[in-house]
């Protein structure tokens, strides 16, 4: 049976090979921190890491990540103490909070590959993630703050 490593655990996958990873995570593994926002890869709410890189889980089939490592918001840090998560709390980023898991995963992916992103690089990386409440100013500030601590 094909398996996916999710947050450090091997999870067997037996369903429809076309099922997006998002629904495998949410409906089969009950990892509900990853959110459905658009189903079209244009809002970023479903962002997770595959082998450390941010992807849209609504546009990635479970089959595509067979044998790979998937990290969700629940697995980013065991105690929720990833520098990005800490920065998010320090800056009081969230309003409704729904998009924030995706935002945090996107930011963590950016900082993993670029420890000191410029403002333009932050904007470029984060522009795929919509926040309808309008927390962008604080998201930007929090990414900058986290960059000091990664």
């Amino acid at each position: 049976m094909p398996s996916i490593n999710v947050n450090g655990e091997k999870r067997d996958y037996s369903g429809d090979s076309a099922m997006p990873l998002l629904w495998f995570l949410r409906d089969e593994l009950n990892l509900t921190g990853t959110k459905y926002g658009c189903g079209a890869g244009v809002c970023g709410a479903c962002t997770v890491h595959v082998d450390g890189v941010a992807v849209r889980s609504c546009q990635t089939t479970a089959a595509e990540v067979t044998g790979k490592s998937v990290t969700t918001i629940e697995g980013l840090d065991g105690n929720g103490e990833h520098p990005v998560q800490k920065a998010w709390r320090e800056v009081n980023v969230p309003q409704c909070g729904f998009c924030q898991a995706g935002q945090i995963m996107q930011a963590a992916s950016l900082l993993a590959k670029n420890k000191a992103p410029t403002d333009d690089q932050i904007v470029e990386e984060m522009s795929g993630n919509i926040c309808r409440c309008g927390c962008y100013q604080r998201i930007h500030d929090a990414v900058r703050l986290a960059a000091g601590g990664v």
Binding site: C38, P94, Q100, S127, Q137
Partner: protein, 784 residues
């Protein structure tokens, strides 16, 4: 907001009468029917506490008004843990934190030992729960302070009994009660809240008129900036529970196919292919509510139930459905805009008349006139609609991100044909609301599906496409403003015509005319000192479901009014800010009668005597925003500042937008400066976040977001064509200035007031930068 429609015909006088009756009976224990601010009747200097006389609010006009019983909202455990119930829905404003802060501060609880519990939908128990209309703090700061103060007295009284002393010698402070000696100094003896818990909660609840409240100087949480929202850690770790995160044993997943055109019906359908999709377990037809007015009745359609959301979606794709569209299939946005524009060019129904506007226009040396257009918008919260229902054995449990859980509960009981006592509505966090989640059609759908499945729990997920195509739409509009100017360049006449399908069409037979709530949102109450004013309403029928979206009719009204002010200023060679201040005129409280406001003038639900429109407060925020933004400073070419302001939801907001228009025409906003006077405020940190969010939503409303119809159906499908502001182009730096209003100034709303001014301010800024005047929303992000 729904109750607005039930109470729309009430005059301010009648609302005032309701307040007196209700509050004398059950609520505030004797509201004075005066416009007095909070008055200190007696002050105990030793405790620096004061008696307060409640002022009337619009809460009295709401279903189930308010409850101010500490035993309903507060529980203290023997270990000292304090549980505070929050009965309003959290959708991002921070209210789930802010109202408990009020209680905790007033009762002297240590915030770190407070646990917050979300109330189920139960208005007879908690008071009104319709989290809408920027009302939570406006309506509930008083009852929450009352709960907290009463519990503090109960703790002090319990300590007095324990020590055998007068209660006056017992003082609650930071989670304990201290015994004072004869000179009112701490004696060294104290009892913790935990030690007093049982005895305190058994104490009789002191009546409102016997309570002493903390003075503003003693507040530790109210008005301070350091309190973080209760759910912050859970949100950043993925543990926060939203609607779709509920999991029940044996739960199935469902999606629905609904008619594209309002009033459409399933003519025929074939589920054979859908049922062959792996994971699909059942297909059911739900009958729509087709009686008009529809209210929040479900649209009807075909539900596909499966073992995952994905399978249900795939099953829906495989359905064969033949639809019957009905009369609304003729709705077409381009033609409708032309129709509204023609209507706006003709006299309409007179809603406000002051002086002799016709004469003013006849005598005018110059007349300005312009039409301002706006498209439909959908709330498009990041969390699409979703509900989980289990309807079994005559009982129903529904979990949902809902702004109005009790209204939903009533309709659920009716739809399921079971008594309301057997329906429980559990309120999850809301992944944004903006008005859509006070309409509970999605919850009724989920419940009916579970009932059809014989009690199987089901999660009904709306897709983003569903969310955009089956919304309650922010209305489409044409606003015409005409201004008469005399030979001394003075404005002598003002005519405003609004043409927009009305929200009331969702609840009553559509006459094509708006109703007092829409008129009250920056249309009839434009606070200008002009001798001759007429506000008229042209007819426009609704062809889709019209609903309220954050800031509602202030969006088109304030856009038009504030754009026109700037246009006339330019025509007269005046500075737009100075001209705006001049139009507002002298410091005064507007006299609705003298100004010809309609008899049923709606003041955001609040009694006018207690919440009058005060031009001094409006001018103050304009001056603050202008000063802090450096109004008049020299700025580079193709950059500009624009200003707009209004009084709404009993708060005052002014916004200065700094725009930069690139050589390619691209609009960007490096800076926004907002000043708000919302009276006594609780959580400035969350007020700032609301101001920042309002600027982003304002940017979306102005530049990006529009919904259009063709053949009766929505043309847009997802965030690809219903666009919103992203990190790539949003107001980069929003600076918020919160006015420290004089003590006793009543709390106003915060969630909505700052959105509408942004549109006028941005278009005024674009004009300053380019001399191009944009009068159609959304403008697009390129100035051509």
């Amino acid at each position: 907001m729904l109750q607005y429609f039930e109470t729309e015909a009430r005059t301010a006088r009648q609302v005032q009468g309701t307040i007196e009756n209700v509050s004398r009976r059950t609520v505030l224990g004797g509201v004075l029917a005066t416009s007095s601010f909070v008055v200190a009747l007696r002050v105990s200097t030793a405790n620096a506490r004061e008696a307060l006389t409640p002022y009337p609010t619009g809460a009295a006009g709401m279903p189930h008004t308010v409850v101010a019983d500490p035993n309903v909202f507060i529980a203290i455990a023997p270990d000292g843990a304090v549980t505070i119930v929050t009965h309003r829905a959290e959708m991002g404003t921070g209210i789930r934190t802010s109202l408990p802060m009020v209680i905790a501060d007033e009762m002297e609880a240590d915030w770190s030992r407070v646990r917050i519990v979300q109330a189920e939908g139960d208005e007879p128990k908690y008071g009104n729960q319709d989290t809408d209309g920027s009302r939570s703090m406006r309506h509930f700061i008083q009852p929450m302070r009352q709960c907290g103060a009463a519990m503090r007295h109960m703790l002090e009284n319990a300590a007095a009994v324990t020590w055998g002393v007068e209660p006056a010698l017992c003082r609650a402070k930071n989670h304990q009660v201290i015994l004072l000696d004869g000179t009112k100094k701490p004696s060294g003896k104290s009892l913790s809240f935990g030690e007093l818990a049982k005895a305190a909660m058994a104490q009789p609840v002191p009546p409102q008129d016997k309570l002493l409240y903390k003075t503003a100087a003693e507040f530790t949480l109210i008005g301070k900036g350091s309190t973080k929202i209760a759910d912050l850690h859970d949100i950043t770790t993925g543990k926060a529970v939203y609607g779709a995160d509920i999991r029940l044993p044996g739960m199935k997943f469902a999606v629905m196919a609904r008619p594209a055109v309002l009033g459409g019906k399933v003519k025929a359908h074939d589920a054979a292919k859908a049922l062959k999709v792996p994971g699909v377990e059942a297909v059911h037809e739900l009958e729509g509510v087709h009686k008009v007015p529809r209210g929040f009745g479900i649209l009807g359609g075909i539900a596909v139930i499966a073992n995952s959301t994905y399978a249900a979606m795939a099953g829906r794709d495989a359905l064969d459905i033949e639809w019957e569209n009905g009369p609304n299939a003729s709705y077409e946005s381009v033609a409708f805009d032309k129709e509204m524009t023609a209507t706006a060019a003709q006299p309409g129904k007179v809603i406000r008349n002051q002086g002799d506007p016709d004469a003013a226009f006849t005598k005018a040396k110059q007349v300005f006139s312009a039409d301002y257009h706006a498209q439909h918008i959908v709330p498009a919260a990041m969390e699409p609609l979703v509900a989980v229902a289990r309807v079994a054995d005559g009982k129903a449990d529904i979990w949902a991100p809902v702004q109005s859980p009790y209204g939903a509960r009533k309709d659920l009981a009716e739809a399921l044909k079971i008594p309301i006592e057997n329906v429980t509505v559990h309120v999850t966090l809301l992944g944004g609301g903006f008005g859509r989640k006070s309409k509970w059609d999605f919850m009724v759908e989920a419940a009916l599906i579970s009932q059809k499945l014989g009690g199987t729990p089901v999660l009904l997920q709306w897709t983003r496409e569903d969310d955009l195509r089956h919304a309650f739409y922010h209305t489409v509009s044409v606003e015409r403003i005409e201004v008469a100017i005399d030979d001394k360049d003075k404005v002598t006449g003002w005519r405003h015509r609004t043409v927009a399908p009305s929200i009331i069409s969702t609840f009553k037979e559509d006459t094509g005319y708006s109703f007092p709530i829409e008129y009250g949102m920056g249309f009839v109450n434009t606070p200008f000192e002009i001798a001759n004013v007429r506000c008229e309403n042209g007819k426009a029928m609704a062809h889709t479901r019209i609903g309220w979206y954050r800031s509602v009719s202030t969006i088109p009204h304030v856009f038009a009014v504030q754009s026109a002010v700037c246009e006339v200023a330019d025509q007269l060679g005046r500075d737009p800010k100075d001209f705006l201040l001049e139009l507002i005129g002298s410091d005064r409280r507007l006299d609705p009668k003298a100004l010809g406001f309609p008899d049923d003038f709606w003041n955001f639900g609040d009694p006018y005597e207690a919440f009058p429109i005060d031009t001094a407060r409006l001018k103050n925020v304009i001056r603050i925003a202008a000063d802090k933004a450096g109004w008049g400073k020299k700025i580079p070419a193709r950059q500009g500042l624009g200003i707009a302001a209004h009084c709404a939801w009993s708060s005052y907001v002014a916004t200065v937008v700094h725009v930069e228009v690139g050589n390619d025409g691209k609009i960007s906003v490096p800076e926004v400066t907002t000043a708000i006077d919302c009276g006594l405020y609780v959580n400035p940190e969350r007020i700032r976040s609301q101001m920042e969010g309002a600027a982003v939503m304002g940017m979306s409303n102005t530049v990006y977001s529009g919904i259009t119809f063709k053949n009766g159906a929505v043309e847009q499908s997802n965030y690809t064509d219903f666009t919103v502001a992203r990190m790539s182009n949003y107001p980069k730096k929003v600076t918020t200035h919160i006015v420290d209003a004089p003590p006793g100034t009543h709390s106003g709303g915060v969630g909505e007031p700052a959105v509408a001014p942004f549109s006028g301010a941005l278009c005024n800024a674009i004009y300053a930068a380019t001399k191009k005047r944009l009068r159609r929303l959304p403008t697009g992000d390129i100035v051509t």
